[in-house]
């Protein structure tokens, strides 16, 4: 029997209880995918609307893409926490998986930079009324790169749990045992459906975002635009839900290992599985309700419902990840050596930081409502 690929446990132990690490990993991932969904599927959707749609479609496209610099800045930032806690909890598998796929993983940095600047170019064209072929092309290139980045992330994270697949990949892409870093987890049957399922989920998030934007921030737009945007959101959400249903079925019934599927179908996990599957149904229903007239309450409820659906997906993903890894690792078995005072300080700063953000937003709202005269 060949020796296993996993290195020893870190002698320092977990710096926080395992549940704490997991909580912030899932919480951070939920916040991250909320924004990531907007550039993953939202951007291409909006570019298509701009290209093929009428005046309302173009207006909607401009509104959504105009917010992209902010969305991307925060989306990247919110991705730090889940990645940080992934490295705390699953370092034994995270580092080997990313090293086997080192060049695609490293390429995230320059690709993201190009995509982000491309979006800025596009947005500058929008804001200054100087849109031209180059700036339009920059938008399309950015959208393509963001989708490619989705593949890179799916590749690394599916490889992280596919320890059994490391051996062949390592042998095929290494120089005397040292990986070239060009391994792609294409042999993993979960790779394609999980990526495509995320695309469908991202469409539903894009739809929810359109509803929230229309309800809260489109005060200056016509009633006709608002009706159109709400209807468009419902269509995108319907498409997204159908997509998730098909790809999710592929992932769950055909790609996921049988023992993991069986575990997800046993009570109490079954409840979570069903809730996750039905999660994006509630925002869809709220969008249906909004067809009678969009209100701020409906907008808020739709946003919260979508956030809840994404949270359920993040929790389900975590349970599946743990089941997958439990085949190779003693999950959460590392000794715990809690760093109490920095942990408490982090929580205090976290709450204080949210308070400061709220204060800043309140100041901005006040200033917008009562403009100063220069």
């Amino acid at each position: 029997m060949l020796p296993p690929f996993l290195g020893p446990l870190n002698p320092l132990g977990y710096p926080a209880p395992y549940w704490f690490i997991l909580f912030f990993k899932v919480f951070g991932f939920t916040l991250h995918i909320t924004l990531m969904n907007l550039w993953f599927a939202g951007l291409i959707t909006m570019l298509l609307l701009r290209w093929r749609g009428g005046p309302h479609a173009q207006r909607l496209s401009d509104r959504v893409i105009n917010a992209m610099p902010f969305v991307i800045a925060y989306g990247i930032n919110l991705g730090i926490v889940p990645l940080l806690f992934t490295q705390v909890a699953y370092y034994q598998v995270f580092y080997p998986a990313t090293i086997l796929a080192a060049w695609p993983w490293f390429a995230v940095v320059p690709l993201l930079m190009v995509a982000y600047y491309g979006i800025y170019l596009y947005v500058i064209g929008l804001r200054k009324g100087t849109m031209n072929t180059q700036k339009r092309a920059a938008g399309w290139v950015s959208a393509a790169i963001f989708m490619l980045l989705g593949l890179v992330f799916s590749n690394s994270f599916s490889l992280m749990t596919n320890v059994a697949g490391w051996g062949p990949l390592w042998n095929a892409t290494s120089q005397t045992g040292a990986p070239y870093g060009i391994g792609l987890n294409l042999g993993d049957p979960t790779l394609a459906p999980r990526l495509l399922m995320m695309f469908g989920l991202a469409l539903t998030t894009t739809a929810a975002y359109v509803v929230v934007d229309t309800a809260f921030f489109a005060g200056g737009e016509s009633a006709e635009y608002k009706r159109w945007a709400t209807r468009c959101a419902l269509m995108v959400s319907t498409l997204g839900n159908a997509w998730v249903a098909v790809m999710g079925s592929w992932y769950f019934f055909a790609a996921l290992p049988a023992e993991i599927r069986a575990a997800q179908l046993q009570v109490p996990m079954l409840v979570l599985t069903l809730l996750t599957a039905a999660g994006t149904g509630l925002p869809w229903l709220l969008m249906l309700l909004a067809q009678r007239g969009i209100t701020r309450r409906l907008g808020l409820l739709t946003g919260l419902a979508q956030l809840g659906a994404l949270g359920l997906h993040a929790i389900s993903r975590q349970t599946v990840q743990n089941l997958e890894l439990a085949r190779y690792l003693p999950i959460g078995a590392e000794p715990v050596n809690i760093q109490w005072s920095p942990l408490v300080l982090f929580l205090v700063l976290f709450v204080g930081g949210i308070g400061l953000l709220v204060w800043m937003v309140v100041q901005v709202v006040k200033a917008v409502r009562h403009p100063v005269t220069p």
Binding site: F5, A73, Y95, I99, T176, G177, G353
Partner: protein
């Protein structure tokens, strides 16, 4: 050893860390110093109701956001990305020690981004006091980010008592923390001046009064920064562990760089004082580009030195540069490096099962009995996992060149005790048999003695 080793021909994978870190630091420091500059100057402009200057500051803020929020932020993530790939054991250790330091830094990143965007996008719509407050919120958050990340990089150079008392705060307040914080704060202020000066020069402002004001005011943080860099740098030198100071003294390249950093900092100080501060009319693109290049040279040299003197460690006293814990070495010398490494053990088991005994352990003697080409292959495996962190075969710090003309005996002597030959190299963490196998490989890559040398020797 515990992780697969990412093989990057010619440059070695750790050099990618250096590349990403260098370009990041040039913008990251500006993100801190520029934030301070914008906060102070916006307050000044509001107080004096200087509309043209406010207009310039707004322009500069846009440039600042485009550079720092995109390039700075992504290259910052890029460092983290790259250290995980090229230095996984050290990253694992750092994340276990400093996870809450990083988590706190994340909180300040979130505040930074929000305050920067609100500061810019609501420039004319916020009351001056609130607007200035947003600027200061950004500046303070950015500086705290610098403090948090500096504690980690300073720890890597001198962990102080952490090895004896492994607590977060002992790690955080390490002996290098304050000097590096002072030096980096200075660097941030210095770079802010140079960026503002460069931006203003390239903008070709026509109003002479505004040009003079920008030139004069933009130099102040730089002058203070140069002083702080000098104080922090001197203190940094004093707080270095003995071996790091010895490395500085022993390596002539580092001697030169050390001299260079202080000289260039003084030159920048003089150029700032005599140029934009005393003679604001000198604000020309050529002068600004020259000044900027000198500033980048000073900062880049400082960062390179900080990295170079850590050898043979990645984290001083905690993780060696070749991804081994120092306390593992005695055991590895007994059981073998190949046996002790997760991926090396697997490689031998898969490719040379005849060298694995009934208990599944590598039989060192059996390795020596392999065919010559197989011995070389095992030697290459040892080289890649044990040496490739710092040495390429052909390219950066190439062993083919540094062992040019060496006899097998000379190579074996070095392999057995590299730290005796060069104290900044880690000790060999393998058995006598593995030293022979590594030598077998190195003999095949070492270039011959250069022809044509007349040195009185017979060969």
């Amino acid at each position: 050893m515990h992780y697969p080793w990412w093989y990057v021909p010619f440059v070695t994978s750790p050099m990618l860390i250096a590349a990403v870190a260098t370009i990041h630091i040039f913008v990251a420091m500006y993100a801190v110093g520029g934030g301070m500059f914008l906060a102070v100057e916006t307050q000044f402009a509001h107080r004096t109701q200087n509309r043209p200057y406010l207009g310039y500051l707004r322009d500069h803020t846009w440039f600042f956001i485009l550079l720092t929020v995109v390039f700075g932020a992504i290259t910052g993530v890029g460092i983290w990305w790259t250290i995980g790939l090229a230095s996984p054991l050290a990253t694992e250790a750092l994340i276990h020690i400093f996870v809450f330091g990083w988590a706190m830094e994340y909180v300040f990143f979130v505040i930074e981004i929000a305050s920067a965007f609100l500061f810019f996008y609501f420039w004319d719509r916020l009351p001056p006091k609130t607007h200035t407050t947003f600027g200061y919120i950004y500046a303070v958050s950015a500086w705290i980010s610098l403090v948090l990340i500096t504690s980690i990089t300073a720890f890597m150079l001198n962990p102080g008592n952490w090895v004896q008392t492994p607590s977060f705060w002992v790690a955080f307040f390490n002996p290098e923390f304050i000097p590096q914080t002072i030096a980096r704060t200075g660097g941030a202020l210095l770079l802010a001046s140079l960026y503002v000066y460069l931006h203003a020069a390239l903008r070709r402002e026509q109003d002479p009064e505004l040009r003079a004001l920008i030139a004069r005011r933009s130099t102040r943080p730089g002058l203070l920064g140069a002083v702080l860099v000098t104080i922090g740098g001197g203190w940094w030198l004093l707080a270095l562990p003995e071996s790091a100071r010895a490395a500085l003294a022993a390596a002539s390249a580092l001697n030169i760089l050390m001299l260079l950093i202080f000289t260039v900092t003084l030159v920048v100080f003089a150029m700032l004082y005599l140029g934009p501060y005393r003679n604001p009319g000198w604000i020309t693109p050529g002068f600004a580009i020259l000044l900027f290049a000198f500033g980048l040279a000073a900062i880049g040299t400082g960062e390179f030195l900080r990295e170079a003197v850590r050898k043979p460690y990645i984290i001083y006293g905690v993780v060696l540069s070749n991804q081994i814990y120092p306390e593992e070495i005695p055991g590895l010398r007994q059981t073998g490096y190949l046996e002790g490494g997760t991926w090396t053990r697997r490689y031998v088991a898969e490719h040379f099962p005849q060298a694995v005994d009934a208990q599944g352990e590598i039989d060192e003697g059996a390795l020596l009995a392999l065919a010559p080409d197989e011995r070389i292959e095992v030697g290459e495996l040892l080289f890649l996992y044990h040496c490739n962190d710092c040495h390429s075969v052909e390219g950066y710090a190439a062993v083919s060149e540094s062992m040019r003309g060496w006899t097998p005996e000379m190579i074996l002597a070095l392999v057995k005790e590299p730290h005796r030959a060069r104290f900044f190299m880690p000790p060999f963490a393998g058995t006598a048999e593995e030293a022979l196998l590594l030598t077998d490989y190195l003999v095949t890559v070492a270039r011959p003695f250069p022809a044509g040398l007349v040195n009185g020797s017979s060969n």
